[in-house]
Symmetry: C2
């Protein structure tokens, strides 16, 4: 039997191991998480980014299961796509599978072999045993994994923080971590997201206290928005509303679904009669209601964004409304959020949105918690995961500060193959992995080339030139037509296009019959000529496409 | 003589009054500041946004001067454009005019009538007298304005903070403010940028102290980046470098220019022998040099971004380099900055970039300073300026908290006409004002329509259909050609385009000679048909343009 374990991060984009990791030993492979990424700023028109499954498909026969740590989109959102390639059993806690189920019901046709696990459950997949342990995070029922492998014990934290007073009363399982730390941990894979934040991340309870202070003073209606998946936060909104005798009305599809799923499964405790239908909102005094809404990221189609524009079918912002943004903008969403906040103020609402108001805390560990995790598990090797490159480096330094030898810190990226044996840890190579970009119905069709073209088009527009030429003479049969988009609509623009038409006429005075036979080259040459001319005249660089029809 | 004053904010974009304001009384008009804005995220391809000068041009004969508060781009950057329409005298402090001069030399051909003023200077423009008073801000030699008008005294703070220990030793002129506050201020126009930040903005000195702590521990080379215009910050970098016996090498065009201009004018005191040429960098031990670089916003063409990619002609990042990001990302630039930081770490540098490291402080007042300004001036009317809408509202509340009657707070937007008399303050209308969008060499040519087209192109690409038809039969003379950009390069895409070609052939079976006479309608109809087909097949909505050539 081999005593070697290989760990491979397979997400195609951004943070290492966030979306999908593989653990291989001998003939057994398990996948950890199965999520999607959101497009970066230089991916215009892309809706979602999926992990590359090609390596997974190669290992199809050895793949025993997909094991989930928690129910966030970036950890479960690619299940429909991945299961359609490798339909293996899926293990996760009750709420995690409940959240994953929603998506599968919509997008996956096959049967899914779901296995509900509880913290401290141990499941055997060939030579790899997986024990689940409770961690605290911004969605209920999150777990980390202890992998008992032929090489040794590997701890994977999943996304975590060390909330000492979690809303559901279930702190991170320090006992289990201490136990394996005492036995000897070969490697720790730990969440690096906030490795640049000193101190501790405040407890989720802090948000409840801040909300209570705000509710105490509020005289009119209160609208709260947060991430739909943040069940503990939703619980606190409901609790505080109940304490202050306010009814709660849930608005926005994803928020409605999560409240339903989490309530049915027992993760959300809603006092009887607290929830009201949006249609009944008008029946209660403004001081007696709370609207719990989607849109915390300023998403243009979300309920809150629509309200901020007076565009929501059922809820209008009223002068004196108090809006609480109980979420911080995910990097890249700052401008969208600011616009929604401005528009809410414009409609007469007061908005609480600054970090100082403490109506949001992160679900990820800060430096002191990351160090605590390192000290509890005392790993021989350390692999920082879930974070941008800067976070991995800073997390690595924390590991070294707690006593991990610098040579035992392994920093990789998506595709990296880490090899662990009882004595050794090293990076042994890379697996080909790429981001699968989704735009509309076409899966995986959009590559670098198309993205680059979109960038040019988006920044400078397009000029299309269409010429009809005679095969015999090589001359233009009729005047060329020029169409533009995103380029100009003004008079100087029209003048320029007339000049371009003139240039084309000149051009065709010299075209040989030979040239016309190589139409693709001819079209490219014309496009280059037009592009040069436009750039010289305007300083702009639109995409220029040319079509030559030969009669 | 009239006792009425009208104040009009004329920037075309974003923050009210940031770029350009007018003060009119009787036959006299003065402009305050003359800056440009940077494009928002939904303005692809736009380089700069200029204020609308049409109203200014109408008032040409009454316009006495442009009065500048400080030398930042958003306050002086539109001078070449505006002066080319209305060439009037320009008043500002020495450094402000020095910074403005740079740009004018490059972009303006006429003579500029510059008047250097000092704080406490009073200049008379017809019935309006302007007194300049010192304020502290993130560029040296900043001033606010006291306008003595027939309606009363109006105080305009410019951009300010109340730095009690400014680097140049010149605090805000509390005495002058107290004096006019005691005389009676009709209206205060005050910087709202940070109306959502509680407390005080830390002194610029704090940055010097943080830098000293970092320098104390640094063993290798130090690279510092900040805004080129932040002369006090540059002074501190030079001072700390000198204290720690390090030579300073300035890299990046705008940084080089500002250091030169500010040194020549006496705003920057550089100890002899401290500056070294970038070519001599290799001659000194790494522990003895500091590189002062542009690129604090992650701008892709900046010196630091190039270094982070190993792409700078003269400076390579060396393992062990310490990079200090002495600036915070301007909203919208967060992702660019993060990428540069990641890439610097990748090359082996350590980067100091978090807010906790206090290597950057803002140049704008926080709430306590804004309230102090209100209490010093005790205005009868309050007009919050320089800020997004949310900031204006929050600033208005601070004014009310300090005793301004709510009815005396006037919240406007760009274009708003404020009318003030000795007894009254009100909003009396709007001036037509728009953003003049600059892309390449064409000034003011880009409108909403073109931006919308660019958005479609950027997100979904373009399909260009070219058909040649016979005038007599209405039938296709040859097979249609289809070209795409930013749409697809894959096999399913090619198949789709073949199907589109088939659809076009079908389409032309039914086209009447009549239809061919209305070519524009025909082209639009074909484009719509193709667009529908593509959307149904792929869920994508590329721009579709059609050109029909009639033989």
């Amino acid at each position: 039997m081999t005593n070697e374990v290989r760990i491979i991060a397979l997400g195609g984009l951004g943070e290492i191991g966030k979306n999908l990791m593989l653990v291989e030993s001998g003939a057994d492979v398990i996948a950890i998480d199965c999520g999607l990424a959101f497009p970066e700023e230089d991916m215009p028109g892309i809706d979602l980014v999926l992990p590359d499954v090609s390596y997974l498909v190669e290992r199809k026969d050895q793949l025993r299961a997909i094991v989930l740590t928690h129910g966030h989109e970036d950890h479960v959102g690619a299940l429909p796509y991945v299961l359609s390639h490798v339909n293996v059993p899926v293990y996760g806690t009750k709420l995690t599978l409940g959240l994953a189920r929603r998506k599968l019901d919509e997008e996956f046709e096959g049967e899914v072999d779901f296995h509900i696990v509880k913290p401290r459950d141990v499941v055997t997949f060939g030579c790899i045993q997986v024990e689940f342990f409770r961690v605290t995070h911004s969605v209920s029922d999150s777990v980390g994994l202890i992998l008992y492998t032929p090489a040794g014990i590997i701890v994977h934290t999943g996304d975590f923080k060390l909330d000492q007073t979690p809303v559901d009363g279930e702190p991170t399982d320090y006992f289990k971590l201490a136990e394996v730390g005492d036995k000897g941990v070969l490697a720790l894979l730990s969440d690096s997201t906030h490795a640049d934040r000193p101190g501790y991340t405040p407890s989720e309870r802090v948000v409840g206290e801040s909300l209570a202070q705000v509710f105490q003073k509020a005289k009119g209606r209160i609208i709260v928005t947060t991430f739909a998946s943040n069940v503990p936060r939703i619980q606190q909104v409901i609790d505080v509303s109940h304490d202050f005798n306010r009814k709660v009305c849930v608005v926005g599809r994803s928020m409605e679904t999560v409240v339903e799923v989490a309530t049915n499964m027992g993760y959300l405790r809603v006092p009887l009669g607290t929830l009201i239908d949006v249609g009944d909102l008008g029946k209660y005094p403004q001081a007696k209601v709370v609207v719990l809404s989607t849109g915390s990221q300023g998403e243009p189609l979300s309920a809150l964004a629509r309200m901020s524009l007076g565009d929501h079918r059922k809820v209008d912002i009223i002068e004196g409304d108090l809006v609480i943004m109980a979420a911080s903008p995910v990097p890249g969403n700052e401008t969208m959020v600011s616009r929604v906040v401005d528009n809410l103020f414009r409609r007469g609402a007061t908005v609480i949105y600054t970090p100082e108001s403490l109506v949001h805390v992160s679900g990820h560990a800060s430096q002191e918690e990351q160090k605590m995790m390192l000290n509890l598990t005392r790993p021989r090797f350390f692999i920082p995961v879930h974070g941008e490159y800067r976070h991995l480096i800073l997390h690595a330094r924390l590991a070294v500060a707690t006593g991990v030898p610098p040579a035992n810190v392994l920093i990789g990226e998506n595709g990296t193959i880490f090899r662990l044996t009882p004595d050794q840890g090293e990076i042994v190579g890379m697996v080909q992995t790429r981001a699968v970009l989704i735009d509309g119905a076409g899966v995986g069709e959009i590559g670098e080339g198309v993205l680059k073209e979109r960038k040019t088009l988006g920044e400078a527009g397009a000029v299309f030139v269409s010429c009809v030429v005679s095969r015999e003479t090589g001359a233009l049969a009729i005047a060329p037509t020029i169409r533009t988009s995103g380029f100009t609509r003004s008079e100087p623009g029209e003048t320029l296009l007339t000049e371009v038409a003139g240039k084309l006429k000149d051009y065709f005075k010299d075209v040989s019959q030979e040239a016309i036979r190589r139409k693709d080259l001819l079209e490219q040459d014309i496009a280059n000529m037009v592009q040069r001319y436009v750039r010289n005249e305007t300083g702009r660089k639109p995409a220029v496409l040319c079509s030559v029809s030969v009669l």
